[in-house]
């Protein structure tokens, strides 16, 4: 059962629940109150907000009004139902020239040409059907002025009417500009479209954005196809990488314009070469960089280039196959390309050669000198062939024959030159061998001559003995039979001697060793002498021996008197030989004359046996003689006429022969240079006539050369000097010690003691301080003179010296007191000339005698290889040779003494010449 406490608790709980409910209710009421308060406040705010917004609306309304009226474009509102204009802004009033009220009485059709009304109505009806394009209208103003407009409109409710508001834009000016722009664009477009060059535009990824018709035509692709392609699709696959890297480079380097050449394939797969200019056409953020390109079809040019290259290659390969080393160098000689054969020729690889100057390492100094002008020639476009020595890589030098020529690029500019090299080392070696062989052959010829000369000499010596002994026996023999036999021996040996001599002379001439030595000489006396020389051969013969010289006795000409004498003597000797009766006649006359020379005709005629017609053509050939007889009646060598002909050839003369029935005549002409009188005087110094008497003047001559001794002796006799001759310096020293001497003529080179040494010793002794010493030397150079003066000689005389020179130097150096004693002039020119003649003969005989010894000495020296003796002999003999005017021998002697030469060969030649000279002199003696 329920007790009281239970109910109490229930009541308490109920109360508590009621109180809690009341508390919750109160909270809720309070919340409600608060919400109510907020609502009241919100209401108040709303009113304020409304009035604020109303203000704002008013404000924006007036702003809109301003916008409407001040809008730069005319704005109109019209009724869609009847097109009546409902409102316009002020701009419209100004633009159209109608007043606001005028507008309000108009429809929009009134703004158009009447003909346009239909279109206007149609247009308005279609509004809202579909979006409108901006249609251009022509509006007419109040004054009838028209302007192009476009309108933009919106449908609105206006004054409770369905209306449309339109903004009208005058595009008259804009349209004009656009038209102009369009024209301009079309003009350029036309240019581009009609261009025969390919013009296109690509994006940086290579995609085409424009192609011109030429591009379409060339590639064979349609415009649509091209615009879906990239540039690199066209490039020949092989070149793609190259071309793309080229344009990447342009992009990276920000180059504005470039040019390059590459091939493309057209739609048909044909290869076309393009020369392409590409310009960067500015940067656009949206589209990136794009390129404008113009390109030209250069296929034909490329073909030409290729053809050229192919033909070049063809020739190169031909040259290579011919084993000719081909190399190309630039104009400065730097190797551009070297071909295999050239590489193997030089031993260098292509890489070692390329880029280097060939001359720096392939040539030596001599080669470079030779190469320099070649390079210059190439620059001037000249080709050339030359031989040069090349140094191989292994250091071996080879000879090559180079054919060099410039080559040109397609614009005809010199690009460099190429050299074709042929290895001629073997030929060169062969050439050297040939030269050696030739020298050998020449040497053997020379030795043949020498042999001939030697043999002749060897024969001559015993022959001289035979002749001499025969003559000796002739004098003592009494038996007529023996005498007759001796006469035969004499005759035979003389013939033999003359044969040998002539053979020798002929050999000389043929070896061209014999020279014409023209000197100034009197032609008359030369010819007269020869004529007289042969007179004794006519003794006992019964014919007239006559001469007729129609030339000036005083005339001097430049000619070789010895050679001319030989010719005349030979011809006369022949004539005499073949003539038994009748005549032998020698005629000379001036055939023609010019201001500086005369042509002289020489005729030697006889009435001898004559020359058979069959032989007349060959008588000037060696070993041919008239009648070619075997009976030996006439003797002779048969060499006389050939010698004559050859000498005349050398002198520029020509000989001819006429023979008819026992009458023979030889005729030749010589053109001789005339020597005028004044020239003669300067050339040949006249003998000074104020000759002084040197008697009482004591002169010592120290001279080892016998010829010179004789020469000086005769000169001293002529000067009437009191003289003594000694052989060397030592003898001179001995002599002056015990004899009184005023002057010494001291030769510089003497055996035992030379003149220099002797002078030094003399000068050491003050006793001889007044003694005059004159040096004599063959070498008149400054060093010799200085040597003479240095050792204390007073003066100096170079050999050969003339009588005048000796005379002058004596007067110059001798004390005048010594001379004043003897003042009587003696002697005359006549005496002098006579004396000269005898003197010359004596001189010659001494020279001949002396020379025999010297020739032997020289020969011995050749065997012993004794250079020094040869040089001494040459030195000693030179003055005599000068005196005899033997220039050929003097040159040889000087060469031996001073110059470098094949010493013993030259010595041998000297001996031969000397022997020849001696033989000739003996003959004349």
């Amino acid at each position: 059962m329920t007790d009281k406490t239970t109910f109490d608790r229930i009541i308490q709980r109920e109360r508590a629940a009621r109180k809690e409910a009341e508390r919750i209710m109160e909270d809720k009421s309070r919340e409600l109150f608060d919400v109510n308060e907020k609502l009241v406040a919100l209401n108040t705010n709303l009113e304020e907000e409304i009035s604020k917004r109303t203000e704002k609306i008013k404000e924006s309304e007036s702003q809109l009004n301003i916008l409407f009226n001040k809008h730069p474009f005319p704005i109109m509102v019209y009724n869609l139902a009847d097109l009546r204009i409902l409102a316009v802004n002020k701009t419209a009033v100004q633009k159209y020239g109608y007043s606001n009220s005028e507008f309000l009485r108009m429809t929009i059709c009134d703004l158009h040409h009447k003909s346009d009304s239909k279109n206007v109505i149609k247009y308005v009806k279609s509004i809202g059907e579909k979006p409108k394009k901006n249609k251009t209208w022509t509006h007419i103003g109040a004054k009838g002025n028209t302007f192009e407009v476009i309108t933009k409109g919106n449908s609105i409710d206006f004054q409770n009417l369905k209306a449309r508001i339109v903004v009208i834009e005058d595009i008259t000016e804009k349209k004009k500009l656009e038209e102009e722009k369009e024209n301009q664009k079309r003009k350029y477009q036309d240019l581009i479209e009609s261009s025969s060059d390919i013009i296109y535009r690509i994006k940086s990824n290579g995609a085409f954005t424009y192609v011109n018709p030429a591009c379409i035509k060339l590639t064979g692709y349609s415009q649509k196809e091209l615009l879906s392609m990239t540039f690199s699709d066209l490039v020949t696959p092989k070149y793609k990488k190259q071309v793309s890297s080229f344009y990447n480079f342009q992009l990276e380097s920000k180059l504005n314009a470039t040019y390059t050449e590459f091939p493309i394939h057209n739609k048909n797969g044909k290869e076309i070469w393009l020369g392409q200019n590409v310009e960067t056409s500015g940067y656009n953020i949206d589209k990136g960089i794009s390129f404008n390109a113009t390109a030209r079809d250069i296929t034909d040019r490329k073909k030409l280039e290729k053809a050229l290259q192919r033909s070049e290659e063809k020739y190169r390969s031909i040259i290579e196959n011919m084993e000719l080393g081909l190399v190309e160098v630039d104009p400065e000689g730097v190797i551009i390309n070297a071909y295999p054969r050239f590489c193997s020729l030089t031993g260098y690889s292509v890489d070692e050669l390329k880029g280097r100057k060939g001359a720096d390492f392939l040539l030596d100094d001599k080669g470079r000198e030779k190469y320099k002008p070649q390079l210059k020639d190439r620059k001037e476009g000249k080709g050339n062939v030359y031989e040069i020595q090349i140094i191989r890589k292994d250091g071996v030098k080879i000879w090559v024959l180079v054919s060099g020529a410039p080559f040109y690029d397609e614009y005809n500019r010199i690009k460099g030159s190429f050299g074709i090299h042929l290895d001629i080392t073997e030929q060169k070696m062969l050439e050297v061998e040939l030269k050696v062989a030739r020298d050998k052959a020449e040497d053997s010829l020379k030795s043949k001559e020498l042999f001939l000369a030697n043999i002749s000499h060897e024969i001559r010596t015993p022959l001289n003995a035979i002749i001499g002994i025969t003559e000796l026996m002739n004098k003592i023999a009494k038996d007529p039979q023996l005498l007759a036999q001796l006469k035969h021996v004499n005759h035979a040996s003389s013939s033999l001697l003359s044969l040998i001599n002539e053979l020798l002379l002929l050999a000389k001439i043929e070896a061209q060793k014999e020279k014409i030595e023209p000197v100034t000489a009197n032609l008359y006396s030369c010819l007269n002498q020869s004529f007289e020389l042969l007179r004794n051969q006519t003794i006992g013969k019964g014919f007239d021996y006559s001469m007729e010289l129609k030339i000036d006795k005083e005339a001097y000409y430049l000619f070789d008197p010895i050679k001319l004498g030989q010719v005349v003597q030979n011809l006369l000797s022949n004539a005499i030989k073949f003539t038994t009766n009748g005549y032998v006649d020698f005629k000379t006359e001036i055939f023609s004359s010019s201001f500086d020379s005369d042509v002289i005709q020489f005729v030697i005629s006889d009435s001898g046996i004559g020359i058979p017609k069959t032989d007349i053509d060959s008588i000037f050939e060696n070993f041919e003689q008239a009648t070619n007889n075997s009976n030996g009646v006439f003797g002779g060598t048969g060499l006389g006429l050939p010698i004559v002909k050859k000498i005349l050839d050398l002198m520029g003369g020509e000989i001819s022969v006429f023979s008819n029935e026992g009458k023979t005549s030889f005729e030749f002409f010589l053109k001789l240079k005339k020597i005028k009188k004044n020239e003669l005087e300067t050339q040949a110094k006249k003998i000074v006539l104020d000759q002084k008497n040197f008697s009482g003047v004591k002169i010592l001559v120290a001279e080892d050369n016998k010829v010179n001794q004789f020469l000086i002796e005769s000169q001293m006799i002529n000067l009437k000097a009191d003289f003594t001759i000694v052989d060397n310096g030592l003898e001179a020293l001995e002599y002056i010690k015990s004899n009184e001497v005023d002057l010494v003529l001291m030769d510089m080179r003497m055996p035992i003691m030379n003149g220099i040494k002797a002078t030094e010793i003399i000068r050491e002794d003050s006793k001889f301080s007044d003694l005059k010493i004159i040096g004599l030397t063959a070498n008149a150079d400054k060093a010799n003179k200085d040597e003479c003066y240095n050792v204390g000689m007073n003066d100096f005389l170079s050999k050969p010296y003339s009588f005048d020179q000796l005379h002058a130097i004596l007067i110059k150096n001798l004390n005048p007191k010594l001379l004043s004693k003897n003042n009587d002039l003696s002697g005359s020119i006549e005496n002098e000339v006579d004396h000269e003649d005898a003197f010359q003969k004596k001189l010659n005989s001494i020279f001949i005698k002396d020379s025999h010894i010297r020739i032997l000495e020289l020969k011995q020296s050749i065997i012993n290889k004794d250079i020094e003796t040869v040089k001494n002999i040459c030195h000693a003999i030179r003055p005599s040779l000068s005196h005899l005017k033997q220039t050929g021998l003097i040159d040889l002697a000087r060469t031996l003494e001073f110059e470098e030469c094949d010493f013993f060969a030259t010595t041998e030649m000297f001996v031969v010449h000397l022997e020849t000279l001696i033989i000739r002199m003996q003959k004349l003696q």
């Binding site: 059962m1 329920t2 007790d3 239970t6 109910f7 608790r9 229930i10 709980r13 508590a16 629940a17 009621r18 809690e20 409910a21 919750i24 209710m25």
Partner: protein, 178 residues
């Protein structure tokens, strides 16, 4: 949990059993609220489990049975308290369909702090409704009772299968039999 659930429970215990039992239960339950409930207040929902448990102990009737009976009872009370929810609704399944989408929303207007279970309906057929109950409070038996109350209120018979998916989620297969 809204106070009305507690006040109606106490009232039901007082009427069906006795004031003594009601007071004993409250006394034994040692509740934070001390058993003082106002219909418009809000109290810890655990207290209802304690009270039902004590009642089950005192009467020997299972808690499941007690929750179902209480739910059936409470639905009748709702009808008298909130008759407007029943306007235009003529059958129990239609009413159940409206619980989540309409009635709970209306409840939240009155009690913004109310914590309500979700009751997702799925009309399988004209007389078959599948409802998924999910709530952290685990009061599916109470919900079962409310469904029974609904049918009782409309004077209809029902067949209800209860499928427990988890502690917090239960699916009811409800068939109206007439």
């Amino acid at each position: 949990m809204k106070g009305i659930v507690f006040t109606e429970l106490i009232e039901m215990i007082e009427n069906e059993f006795s004031f003594k039992i009601a007071d004993d239960i409250i006394q034994r339950s040692n509740l934070k609220s001390k058993g003082v409930y106002s219909s418009i207040g809000t109290y810890d929902h655990k207290e209802i489990f304690i009270l039902v448990k004590e009642l089950s102990d005192a009467t020997g009737i299972s808690s499941v049975q007690l929750f179902r009976v209480y739910g059936e009872h409470l639905f009748g009370r709702f009808k008298s308290h909130y008759p407007s929810f029943f306007e235009n609704v003529s059958d129990p399944l239609s009413f159940l369909e409206l619980v989540d989408s309409y009635i709970h929303k209306e409840v939240l207007k009155l009690y913004p702090d109310a914590q309500l279970p979700s009751f997702v309906p799925d009309r399988i057929a004209i007389n078959h409704l599948k409802m998924t109950y999910s709530s952290q409070r685990g009061m599916s038996d109470f919900a079962h009772g409310l469904i029974l109350g609904c049918f009782k209120n409309f004077g209809k018979r029902s067949e209800i299968e209860m499928e427990k998916i988890s502690e917090s989620e239960v699916v009811f297969n409800i068939k109206q039999l007439d």
